[in-house]
Symmetry: C2
Subunit: 141 residues, 2 copies
DNA sequence: TTGCGTGCAAAGGTTTTGCATGGCA
DNA sequence: TGCCATGCAAAACCTTTGCACGCAA
């Protein structure tokens, strides 16, 4: 695996540092850009996209397009394989994204593969619904 | 449910007709636009987007984005309530859509609701992955 | 010194919005 | 006739690309 070969630059370090610090969260290019600017170390948009792209290719990052968002989201992938396996639950009410790691859900993947011949890609799949908090609110109304 | 209330116009009919004729397939705004133009009844881009948006709100259409694509895809949802009781599997290779009805899968919904407090909406959820046929092809290569 | 990395600006593409006009009810 | 629907153009966005300069090795 090409470990994002190339020079070690300040910009690259900043980007990777932010991404790893937000492991398990979804980060957009814009958020990353704003963060770096707020830190006093602004990085050009083109550079950000170039690095994100390279990191996705290297397998260090996952790229998503969530729902109706027009922009892509990126998520840092911990190196341990165990953590790579989780489903995403997207609340249609509050729009929050939940990460669920669960053996039962892994069983579902196996079931679909065995009985339906379909190999699910968890990294691309988002389950839509309503989260607990929002259901409470809706019941109350 | 507001059945896309409003006037019945030629443009609207054309759009809905095309979408229903392509049930189970993904359609982009661009494809729709080109098709209508080819038919000799061009419809403005803005109008197309406005209708697609309205139809998504009405629940007649599902909107989603495929990773590699830069544009959003839309898919007609059959009215039959049957579709609300099964999951949709989308093959990322051949782009076909599979409808899976399975008791085991219904268990997913119950499990997530009980253990994670999240109420899944099957009609909005698409599981992405690779279908049996495409996996065979990939293995063969 | 070499050549990749960076930033700016411009291009490319999709989707949204403002506004005057047209068409359904 | 009263409004919504439409279409054009422009704006708003996200992302990519070209190019000259800067910096790591």
């Amino acid at each position: 695996m090409k470990q994002s070969g190339g020079y070690k630059t300040k910009q690259k370090e900043q980007i990777i540092q932010y991404l790893t610090a937000h492991e398990g969260e979804h980060v957009t290019a814009q958020e990353l850009s704003r963060h770096l600017e707020a830190e006093g170390t602004p990085v050009g948009t083109a550079t950000i996209y170039r690095h994100l792209d390279a990191l996705v290719t290297d397998g260090m990052l996952r790229k998503y397009t969530i729902d109706s968002r027009t922009c892509a989201c990126y998520e840092y992938l911990p190196k341990s394989d165990a953590c790579k396996r989780h489903f995403h639950l997207k609340c249609m009410a509050c729009e929050r994204l939940f990460h669920v790691t669960c053996e039962h859900l892994d069983g579902i993947e196996a079931h679909i593969l065995e009985h339906h011949g379909f190999q699910i890609d968890q990294s691309k799949t988002v389950l839509y619904g309503i989260c607990a908090d929002c259901r409470k609110e809706q019941d109350g109304e």
